[in-house]
């Protein structure tokens, strides 16, 4: 005998509790689409940017210290914080390099390999340079990123594509 799953039930948005009363939706959307909303939110982001940059630089200092001591768990944690914040405030390369470091450490752990100190230190130095060098960060970071991917892949014994995942 053939069996089938239960037929999917569709629930119309009008039949569940809405975030706003229908009469208010158009006005709310208009307000959010206004220049005022974008300007105010832009100012809020800008006001936080300088502070967040300092925060990222603090994370970078902690990352360097953790890596120097060979504390890979702490290294991963600080790299994780950097990848979460850096790009939002324009430190694109630093965020991407920190991300690659997290992925490398994850991949090494998944293979039960000890992280290669050289690979880690290269990532850490690159992330630190990119975070501290505002203007050339993206160009410098992208070039380094490619080299690091190749090196990490070589050390893991995988293809560059795998390391880039």
């Amino acid at each position: 005998m053939f069996s089938r799953r239960r037929k999917a039930q569709f629930i119309d948005p009008k039949s569940y509790p809405a975030m706003l009363k229908p009469a208010d939706v158009a006005q709310f959307v208009a307000v959010l689409r206004s220049e005022t909303a974008a300007r105010r939110a832009g100012r809020a982001l800008l006001a936080r940017s300088a502070q967040l940059r300092d925060v990222v630089l603090d994370y970078v200092a902690s990352l360097e210290k953790a890596a120097q001591f060979g504390d890979w768990a702490e290294t991963w944690l600080h790299a994780h914080e950097i990848r979460g914040l850096a790009e939002t405030i324009g430190l694109v390369a630093a965020g991407r390099i920190a991300n690659k470091l997290c992925l490398y450490l994850d991949a090494a752990a998944a293979r039960s390999q000890a992280p290669d100190r050289t690979v880690v230190m290269l990532h850490v130095d690159a992330a630190a340079r990119a975070a501290r060098a505002r203007d050339e960060a993206t160009q410098l970071g992208d070039a380094i990123l490619n080299e690091l991917e190749a090196l990490a892949a070589y050390k893991l014994g995988t293809s560059a594509e795998m390391a880039a995942e």
Binding site: M1, F2, S3, R4, R5, R6, K7, A8, Q9, F10, I11, D12, P13, Y16, P17, A18, M19, L20, D24, V25, Q27, F28, V29, A30, V31, L32, R33, T36, A37, A38, R40, A41, G42, R43, A44, L45, A47, R48, Q51, L52, V55, H80, E81, R83, G84, L85, E87, T88, I89, G90, V92, G95, R96, N99, C102, L103, E165
Partner: protein, 171 residues
């Protein structure tokens, strides 16, 4: 009408990084939403959801002990969930793309990709208000319709290959 007109809206931010939480709080305040509740993981988030009854949620994906995927699943399908239909916007980094599908299958309404920009945040909030998604209840899933485009003229009930059990296996 001004931004202040919507100051009754309540937002819940579930994010383990204090600085990102502060940034999101500032952005939401700037948009007139003064009631922003914060917590650091999905477990706390669920408690806050029950106590504060927010109107929408911004959640990170990677958190401990309870991540954004498990949190979303509980909100959608938990027996004691106060609002299974609440819009959930998940903040994801490019690092987490492989997990985005799992988040979608847990019932996330929208994704907000890092780096967070004003325009991205505004567009996601507008989206959840202006184009609320139909919900789907079927075997193994309850949440926003994962297909954004309807197939015109298709009247059948089955939409996925696995809508048939075990590939029509004989029982």
């Amino acid at each position: 009408m001004s931004l202040a007109a919507f100051d009754y809206l309540k937002a819940l931010v579930v994010e383990d990084n204090a600085h990102m939480r502060a940034l999101l709080r500032s952005l939401l305040h700037a948009l007139g939403m003064k009631q922003v509740y914060e917590c650091t993981d999905g477990q706390q988030g669920y408690q806050e959801l029950r106590e504060r009854k927010p109107d929408f949620v911004l959640t990170d994906l990677s958190m401990k002990p309870v991540d954004g995927i498990e949190f979303t699943r509980k909100v959608r399908s938990g027996a004691d969930s106060p609002n299974p239909y609440i819009p959930i916007v998940m903040i994801t980094g490019h690092t987490e793309r492989p997990r985005v599908e799992a988040a979608r299958d847990a019932g996330v309404t929208e994704f907000l990709a890092k780096p967070i920009t004003v325009q991205n945040l505004l567009s996601r909030i507008i989206e959840i208000v202006d184009r609320p998604r139909p919900f789907v209840r079927c075997d193994g899933y309850f949440g926003p319709d994962r297909r954004r485009h309807r197939m015109e003229g298709y009247a059948g009930p089955w939409r996925r290959a696995d809508d048939f059990n075990d590939d029509l296996a004989l029982r």
